[in-house]
Symmetry: C3
Subunit: 335 residues, 3 copies
């Protein structure tokens, strides 16, 4: 459930209101007057929550969920537990996006100049802005022209360099954030259909554990519902992209200009070289090594080394490149 | 013709002055005393403008142009309409660069501290700088430490997050600009020859249409003469590069770390995955889908799906990767 | 030796203290009471300096070095000149990292708000922060919300656009730095072993020579000990990564989203297209051209043109792609 420090929930809303707002229909047995107070992922939803099923991959979770109501395709409605009210939709993810926007409306900004609040016992350099409700641990260094958003929490001895901006995040101790880093902005989440795309409210946070280092101009988006998590002791280089819902284990190193797409899971002590791309929703095991510029499109077992696009085990990649060179020579021989 | 809100034109200049300044020669029949007031692309130039022909691809436009004068290679001079004065040059693009710099000199900055002007009816957070002449529509949110450059125009309900900077651009309504975005800086334009490279003045703007979203630390350069245009409803992710003169249609989505090189045309509802590169001066048709890390080096017809570097139709790419794997296995079999 | 304007040295320290702090052993003949005043690379170290040997590649330099003491693997200790005291370590690079941290401790920031100092004769826009000791040449333009770090030096007629941040660097004349550029932050340097990674203090600078242009949101890390150098007249596009210790010659052009890894040497008038990756410690000769998205994993001779990942001479790359297409067609023929 979204962190109330960062997100203000509206509602409660009755099922009938919700169904109308999201273009869904009440399935047989759903009480139009039943009210719900929030949205939540299938795994975390309770009786007061609205959840959704969009991907067959999650039918198991759907069949055992404890949500008060769930948006689902009509064809799968009968898989729900008896006490879960179903809202059927031809585009469940789009309907969820509209429901989330109903519960978490974008508040029109009030006019006026926002006051900056200086934290205690820290060094705050010129032009830094600490927004209301932010909390800085002891001995933090906040560089010039940094922006710390509302309610952000930062641990002891953390250093944030010039021009970085943080929002919707909880940062640990002894973290080093380099200049121009962007943490906590909305993830790239849209429900797409022929009528165009609908923005999916991004209601999670970014959790940066202790002793992490984040390189210059790197971007880390907040989660869509779950959080984006950077594990203890990770070292991330410059210009890296970490998308929403990504979870990275302890001590993983990611070199410059690599990108990890949404909801990917990266293990502990993984080594990712530069300009690597990891597709969304994949799992990369502990201790994996990824060669520069590789493109990861499948799960990778712990300890493996992969290279190429699409990435293959490194010995296969070496054979492929050798074979290609051989072919090219053969082709060239008549010259 | 450059937007006078962003660019101050010098001149007028006589053909003789121009020829001397740009290392060109007056062709037979060109009146040295004829004066010109500005530079313009072939297609838009009128009798008061200086244009140029550098690429044979544009000989048609040259042959029908209405420019007062044109810089061109001697070998093509006779293709010009009779009333167009010709300045012949061995390096027409370099000569144009020098001419554009003559008409649009870089003004030495006046000493002093620039005043910030706060727009009306908007929320302007701490440390934001709104330069003179900028205009913000109703209900805009300008985040902390944002910089809005001189004469920039922004539509209603647009939100610009912390640390972003905009110049030389016109932004629509309901646009969401994420932290650290850079819009309107000079494009990467140089006239290169053995003697080194000459900076080509970048005299266009960036036009961001309504309902666009631009991700964190993404960069969008202003046009060289034409504008850079991001169409209505486009969604651009983090760390994307959009070069000068690029035109993107409506509803196109571009995932993180992709780049579109100069003067490329991207259609409507194109879907570009992460870390894709599109070469300059190409056309990517409506509804095209580009797989992650692909490198586009040719025009692509509407509706196609391409993958790989150099990119090929996705079915061919699947066959290529299957064949490579087969070759590698064959090679490995003796082991 | 680190520039005292940017780095405050502690010490001197006795060999015995150092050995204990870095997990090394004094080799036979090393005087525990001998004191050293600083750390330095093998090639530059004098009698008062501590240096290290980690890579067999540098055994020659080790055998002729003039360092007062050197951290080295026990197996290579006998290769040192007789008057060089040896500290043996199973992880020399990690031991060096700890030694460098001993000589250059991170000073806990003093509480308080840092004053901004406005340079003379320059235009400083709103929100710009010029830290103590920074020196700006005549007629510089410092954009809004820029941060110029302590002791940074900038030459005449240099322009720094909105939101950029510079530290630990010396910048020449007529340099153009675009919005959001990050110069001088610590390089991505760690001594890695099974027990995790140790941060290696980054004690070098960034030297930007005259007439350089650096694109929006590009990142240039400072050296680890040597400096990172961008040669006269280089043009670097947006979102480019230049790692620590990289040296780039004169007039080289690097297009958007390319990255050069640590300690690589790039020659004069090299042309690097977009999204290229250059591996660390390589040498790319003068006048080389690198095709977009190529991955450079070997040294390249002057004047060559390379493409592909791993990059090969462009004619070979064309043959390889042609052969792949042929294979794919063959495979498809039965259809």
């Amino acid at each position: 459930m979204p962190d109330p420090r960062f997100f203000a929930v509206a509602g409660p809303f009755a099922l009938a209101e919700i169904a109308e707002a999201v273009g869904a229909l009440l399935a047989a047995g759903a009480d139009p007057a039943k009210t719900l107070s929030d949205v939540a992922p299938l795994g975390q939803a309770g009786p007061e929550h609205l959840s959704f099923l969009d991907n067959r991959k999650y039918v198991e979770a759907f069949a055992t969920c404890r949500a008060g109501a769930c948006i689902a395709p009509a064809a799968l409605a009968d898989r729900a537990p008896p006490d879960v009210a179903i809202l059927t939709s031809e585009a469940p993810y789009k309907s969820y996006a509209l429901a989330a926007a109903l519960f978490y409306p974008v508040s029109a900004p009030a006019p006026g100049v926002h006051p900056a609040v200086v934290g205690e016992g820290c060094r705050i350099e010129a032009g830094a802005v600490i927004e209301a409700g932010a909390r800085l641990g002891a001995r933090c260094l906040i560089g010039a022209n940094v922006t710390i958003g509302t309610a952000v929490e930062i641990g002891e001895d953390t250093r944030i360099a010039a021009g970085a901006s943080l929002s919707h995040c909880i940062v640990g101790a002894r973290v080093s954030i380099f200049p121009g880093v962007r943490i906590g902005q909305e993830g790239f989440g849209f429900a797409v259909d022929k009528s165009g795309h609908v923005r999916v409210p991004q209601l999670g946070r970014v959790l940066i554990e202790d002793d992490v280092e984040i390189g210059a101009n790197t971007t880390i988006d907040r989660g869509a519902g779950p959080d984006t998590v950077i594990g203890q002791g990770c070292c991330i280089d410059n210009l890296v992209q970490i998308a929403h819902n990504v979870r990275i284990g302890r001590g993983t190193m990611i070199a410059a200009q690599s990108g990890v797409a949404g909801s990917a899971r990266i293990g502990d002590f993984v080594q990712i070289a530069g300009q690597v791309g990891v597709l969304g929703h994949l799992t990369v095991g502990d201790g994996v090594q990824l060669v520069g510029q590789s493109g990861i499109i499948r799960d990778i077992e712990p300890g493996e080394t992969y290279a190429g696009t699409p990435a293959v085990p490194i010995r296969q990649w070496h054979r492929q490149t050798a074979q290609l060179a051989r072919l090219a020579r053969g082709r060239a021989s008549p010259e």
